[in-house]
């Protein structure tokens, strides 16, 4: 098991290398001279030349890539062109809110979507099933920012139950922290909940057809035991897979959600960096997100072995 995890970590290295190459090439994929792109529309030729010199853009591509990778391996993500702060410091400051948002959304999704899917499968074809699936289609169809603004309007402005926007770090208390994250998490989780609920329903429907479910019924087991002990665990592999893939959705959604709810997280930083053409920051964030995603995939694969004894590595 441990050797499997180690092997998998080693196997992620080429993936990360390709991601790094891609992230680095971002600057060059954009049309035109990188120095001109970074400098912006109003820059004078001297400014462009200064940027070219300071970023080493006059050197060959591979040399630049090599020294960039070398610096990253030493924990140096570069310096922001706009703020002149180290990129790692900027990311570090913004990591807390985004991580909080994603974890709350993930928990919310699992707690809401999986039971919904199980109930829908159990009562397949009934009114409850149709209501849940209608809700799922609804959740899929609404963009995050629409859900976000509607939630903020209803629960924050009209009912005044929750704050409209902003973020309070966990160090200032659990409730203030959570209070600010509830609406963003619901907005961000909508699509995700819909997706996971649908997959849970489909997988459960298939599992409930299996012979061993009939055996469980023949043993006289109660409905709860059949659904959660025998069926859900057998349905777990596809569900876990989709939850993992959904993390990519969360990363994308966080960018929008943070803007709607004015959360000072990585999403906001991403947008700001893109607007300012702050390439070192963009590169740093994309690299971080890719790394998180690769890590999540590894965790999913390890989860499979815990769920299903037939899977051996």
């Amino acid at each position: 098991m441990l050797s499997y995890i180690l092997r998998r970590i080693v196997a992620t290295l080429p993936v990360m290398a390709i991601v790094a190459l891609f992230v680095f090439s971002l600057l060059y994929i954009a049309p035109g001279d990188p120095a001109v792109v970074i400098a912006g529309d109003q820059a004078s030729p001297e400014d462009v030349e200064r940027i070219r010199q300071s970023l080493g853009l006059d050197r060959p591509f591979l040399v630049q890539f090599g020294s960039w990778v070398w610096r990253i391996l030493h924990g140096d993500l570069g310096t922001s062109i706009f703020t002149n702060l180290p990129v790692s410091t900027m990311i570090g400051q913004r990591l807390g809110p985004t991580l909080s948002l994603m974890i709350i959304t993930l928990l919310l999704t699992i707690v809401v979507a999986v039971p919904l899917g199980v109930v829908a499968a159990w009562k397949a074809g009934s009114l409850i099933d149709r209501a849940i699936m209608a809700f799922a289609v609804f959740g899929f169809s609404l963009p995050v920012f629409v859900v976000g603004y509607v939630l903020a309007y209803v629960f924050a402005l009209e009912l005044e139950w929750l704050p409209v926007q902003g973020y309070t770090p966990l160090t200032q208390g659990f409730w203030p922290w959570l209070e600010n994250l509830i609406l963003p998490a619901i907005a961000l989780g909508c699509v995700y909940i819909a997706l996971v609920a649908r997959i849970t329903r489909a997988t459960m429907l298939e599992v409930l057809q299996q012979d061993y479910i009939r055996t469980a019924r023949a043993k006289g087991l109660g409905q709860g035991g059949i659904l959660f002990i025998h069926a859900l665990k057998n349905a777990a592999v596809p569900i876990v897979t989709v939850i993992g893939i959904g993390i990519a959705l969360l990363i994308g959604g966080a960018v929008v959600t943070e803007s709607v709810f004015a959360i000072p997280g990585l999403g906001r930083l991403t947008i700001d960096a893109i607007l300012r053409r702050d390439y070192p920051v963009i590169q740093g964030i994309v690299l971080l997100f890719s790394f998180v995603y690769v890590l999540v995939n590894l965790m999913i694969d390890v989860t499979y072995t815990l769920v299903d004894p037939r899977i051996r590595y």
Binding site: Y212, K219, G220, H230, N234, V307
Partner: protein, 556 residues
Amino acid sequence: MSEQLLGINDLHVAFSTRRGMVEAVRGVTLSVGKGEMLGLVGESGSGKSVTGFATTRLLDAAGRVTGGKILFRGQDVTKLRGDDLRHLQGAAMSMIFQNPRAALNPIRAIGLQIADAILTHKKISKDAARAEALDLLRAVQIRDPEARMNAYPHELSGGMCQRVMIAIAISCNPALLIADEPTTGLDVTTQKVVMDLLADIAAARGMATILITHDLGLAARYCRRIAVMERGRIVEEASPKTLFTAPQHAYTRRLVAASPTATSRIEDLVTEQERERYATVVSKPRQDPAHGTPPLLEVRKLAKRFDQGSAAVADFSMTMAGGESVGLVGESGSGKSTTSRMICRLIDPSEGDIVFDGQSIGHVASRDFHRSPLRKDIQMVFQDPNESLNPRFTAFDCIAHPLMRLDGMRAGDALRKRVEECAERVGLPLDLLPRFPHQLSGGQKARVGIARAIACRPRLLVLDEPTAALDVSVQAVVLQLLDRLRRENDIALLFVSHDLNVVRMLCDRTIVLRNGGIVEQGESRALFDNPKTDYTRKLVEAIPHIETGPALAAAL
């Protein structure tokens, strides 16, 4: 008869389908006494399993009891709800199923699965339930039960899985056990061991049993009374002896005739009225190959090793003449399917050679063999006609595909004629050709599989359990078809099967395999009548014969 335990009275069960309600059970009346073992026999679609499921209240959501009563200890099972029902299921009444591996939860240790059943019905601690589960594993004679408690179903053989199922079923000492095809898909020897165990346990615990099976011979061996079902009705109910010696109903007569016995011949498999039609076909005598002709197939010291494991097949040699039929028998894991696939050039042998019609083909890589001109000479009929036909291909496409790939035919009238000719040869009505596999019956699908295999006029047909998934009456027709094709077209048949009765009828010679090696071979009839090795004898004895002679009389 002893005191009545279960009384089914005019039971009707219907399923709602896309085409409306379909009645699966139409007025079944049955009764089972305390401690009695009743056989419920019928072919697929006869409603025998549905009757069982209705009794244990395990019908699919689409199925509904639409009429009649099921009285268990005087209580109408069809009206039970909630807790009353749960006290019945698994406690007073339990069920074991076909395909034991699928019937066990694949990701739950078997000890827990047995304990689940105990904990549902008894108020005892988890440790006590675990101890009871262990005792049950001992009762079903599982070796090394302590270690097996933590095993998962995929780590056990099919026979072991069925023992675990039996352990679950008897865990709460039910008064009635319904066994739905408990040994279908198991080897004959395993079948005997499992059935003996089941009969012993039932007798020791005074448990009434309903044995649902398609195998008349099996029911005859273990039951005093057999009810025969056809299309949702019970057509005859009698002792095994009466059923076999003087069947009353026309369907029972057909079923008895179609069930292969130790002495039956292929032409016996239909009732006397139907034999007329067959007689015209068998009139053509079997051709003996002239002396001195080289063999069609020669296999020399064939061996197959899969990754790291020991040899699946080792030192296998045989020869076959043109038009000859050879049977390859053995238990699962004996290497018979591996051998047949190597000969078909679907997998590569590790050692040895295969010579077909004077040409060595053993060294042609299997993935390139489809380009060999000999591909069309060696064709295969696969085990499960449901799984081996492409669900998106019509019957016509299935038969036409090899003609286009191997005979270079183009779509058009000539191709249509050839396909229709093949369909006619296997007795497939031409109006079925545009249908997709799911629109065909099991027997029709088997015919499509055979028509596809003979389309390119092969000289060797390798058949891997071609009738294992079929009802006996369909099997009878398919066997006759194969025998006729062999006589008429001089196709050599290599017939892989675990059903010794079938092999005895169809094959001139038989090769018995065990653990990848040949145990015994010879003239089929001689080999089965006088087995030389213990292994063959064990195989032969394990077949549940329909014994019409003194053996049965003595048993009664």
